[in-house]
Amino acid sequence: MKTSSPQPPKWATRFLRWYCQPALLEDLEGDLYEYFERNVKDKGVGQAKFIYILDILKFFRPYTIRKPKFLNLLIHSIMLTSYVKTSTRSIARNKLFSTINIVGLSISMSVGLIIIAMLFDLNSYDKFHENHNRIYRVISQYQTGNNEAYDFNATTSLKAAKSIQESFSEVEGVAVLQRTFSGDLSFGEKTIPLSGFWASEAFFKVFSFQLLQGDPATALKNPFSLVLTETSARKLFDDSNVLGKTIVLNNERAYTVTGVLKDIPVFSHMKFDMLGSLSTWEIITVNAEQEMSWLNVWNSWAYVLLPANADVGVVQRRLDQLCIQENRSVQNASIKLELQPLGDIITGENHSNQIGQVMGSTPVWMLGGLSFIVILSACLNYTNLSIARSFRRSREVGIRKTIGALRGHIASQFITESVIIALMALVFALLLFLFIKPHFVSMEPSLQELLVLELSPKLIASFILFALIVGIFAGVFPAMFFAKMNAIQILKNVTTVPAFKGLTFRKLLIGFQYCISIMSICATIVIYKQYRHFIAYDLGFTTENILNISLQGNKAELLKKVLLELPEVKNISQSTLITSTGNAWIVNMKNPVDPHDSTTVFFNIVDENYFPLHNHKLISGRNFDGQLNGKEESEVIVNQHVLNRFNIAGKDPHKAIDQIVYVDNKPLRIIGVMKDFEYGRANNRGPKEVIMRYSKDASNYLNVKILANDWPSTYSKIEAAWKRIDPVHQLQAKFYSEEIEEAFVGLKASVKVGGFLAILVICIASIGLLGMVVFTTETRLKEISIRKVLGASERRLTYHLSKGFLGMLMAAAAIALPITYLFFENVMLPNIANHAPLNITELLLGVFAVMLLALLMIGSQTLKAARTNPADILKVE
């Protein structure tokens, strides 16, 4: 055979030999070779090789695959007991090694368990609906002019929902939920506040919420029908037979109870206390035309039920047609509709206007990624330590190989060992999981609503599977390492074992772990700094000692009167919303200079006390005076950004006074220009142009300035005052600073998670380093003793032993620090408005803390080794 002629790729042939039955192999290999030669001639070497590989993959079929031999299986199963036995012995003998690995793995696995349990919970959302995989939500996207489209809304327009219901033959049913149906329900003497939605007739056709009483087909048909959940019904009625009873809502209208629902399951993405029939809403709604407009995509959720085996693409095309048709009827804006599967709601993209809490995909991926890093770190520990102590086990491997163990046998023995360790770690991980669970869930209020994390047989089974995977993953490298050992070499002379050659590889692994540790601690420090910075951010007005009380529909005047009687209350103002916490109300404003230019501005409706109470600074003009109370709105205070945006009076705050602007098509006179302040959250780049409007009737909150030494007693006084005005609702009062802290709860949660994981990674890396130092110094004890006998001092010896590790740590810091710094400086922080500047000394502090811990680990062990009596070691041999 000529060697110069082109040959087919060897690895492909090897693959064929591996999978193919021996009886079929020879001639098949020959056939393929013949075709290869032919193709080389006809089509060239490259293509011939490609076809050869493709053919070999194509021949991977049931009839060609080698059947596992019974004898091999038998040997493996017999040997398995032996592996388990030797493994447990080895685990028991090497206490340090086992402890380090079990501790490391169990800590990291507990995080993994949390994530698995979380995924289980998220995955079981909305599965109780009989037709859950045929239900889709219609989501909408709003776009004005040529501007960039807004994000998709979970809501859609009522008009779209109605059109789908009437003209789409492809859908079996459309369930529409309209907000908001809430208020105080009274029956006889009792009054309770409940909230829910207006729901269309087909609601119970699409969804499988179980009706305990009433007929699902007609419960939401007639106007003024009401469906209660079991709990709400029990709160309101004494007896259980409630069908047909009449309830009064907000002392206005009477509703008939037409159904009682079994309580909403935990894993439902929508939660409510009651449902009113949508036909009621159609009767009582005031501005029906506005509500039914094509562009009003903010208030209704529409869910469609498609027939089994329906083509989603067809329905989507119908939706596109509908959009094209309807978009023609509106000017300067367009709507796009899409279908979102029910299963994607909880973990899918984070659309705005959700009906309830959702998780979104980002946190799931983030948590998953972080926990993967922690688990990887623990697995690296295992790999590292197994190889580091390999010289202890090498004799055993040598003897096994001499007796006749194949590579596969050795590998399975070591994998068995790592799997046993992983399973032992699972036991501790499970205990840790039960301990961490409540802390994790209470980290953020939304998690508390979303997750249960309850143990179930299925969950336990997947935990065990997870432990097996972790065990195999941790053990696969050591197993390969041991399996490759040369038996003769080992038995002749232990010191030639490749463990000593693998030192660089192991140092790399440890270095990698330390890189991750330093990065995570630095990232946590940076995020924590940002959190503190935003909590204490100077918003442009004072928030100190201001208690915001939600009016919950009560008359502001009444409550004000009662509260002002308290000596601790210094002053009270009224407002529509609490600014700087992420809430925003927008209104259309026309440019007084150029009538074609208009934009949306952000606003708050306040009374005359608001400005002095919050210390808002006026650059020119005056505050509202109480004169306008009860009259037509005619005055407005704007901020500097509004002047700049519209170029009012040459941007001069003093000349801007008495100019007329059109807000919501009403002419308003500018009476003052206020200094800019943060209207949205301090870390948002959104709202800039802000106006303040005046009215005492539109307030949702009282802002109460309080000077009190004894806060608990003051609070109970306020509560008592509230009870006099409103016996039905609970007092909802929060200090301004608390509200701001709550607005940053997400950031706080990421600090907590980040900090927790950083500590885990550092712990795992530290114990890994400890083990590594122990095993390496152990192998060098003889060398140390000889050096000592020859006159080396303890200090020099410690330095000599630690040198390698120190270098590695330095390298890790030198890599990790710039990466973290550059990542935050160039990627993360530029996206956050008003962020605190990066402080390199704080990062160095984090690095220093990690280093100190590492030095402690290294120093303690090397010093111990340097202090050993050389005679003890040298006299043994």
């Binding site: 001639d27 098949l28 020959g30 056939d31 070779y33 079929r61």
Partner: protein
């Protein structure tokens, strides 16, 4: 009995084996099929059919002599068993019988 009924492609492969007499190995069968039918006969398909025919007992095979060709791998030569012959004859008879039932008129007008 399993294996007495054969598919169209199986029949073609069987006939090709019979026609090639002593040189019926997989690659040659593929080439011959391609030449006679004018359609591409992939090794993967033919190999699977040969394997199935052997399982059914319609063909038997033996490895040939080792040569320096084909990367030193031997060829597997196929030959038809008595069962294979019977199956071929049976399918031919079935066709002939059906042909004989067709009145001449019907096919003349093509």
């Amino acid at each position: 009995m399993k294996g007495t009924n054969i598919g169209e492609f199986e029949e073609l492969v069987l006939l090709t084996i019979a026609a090639l007499v002593n040189d019926a190995y997989s690659v040659a069968i593929c080439d011959e099929l391609e030449k006679n039918t004018g359609r591409a006969a992939k090794l993967g398909v033919v190999h699977a059919v040969l394997n199935r025919l052997e399982e059914k007992g319609l063909v038997k095979s033996k490895l040939g002599e080792a040569t320096s060709m084909r990367g030193g791998k031997r060829k597997r030569f196929y030959s038809i068993t008595n069962g294979g012959k019977a199956a071929l004859i049976k399918s031919k008879e079935l066709r002939d019988e059906l042909w004989s039932k067709i009145p001449n008129l019907v096919l003349k007008r093509i």
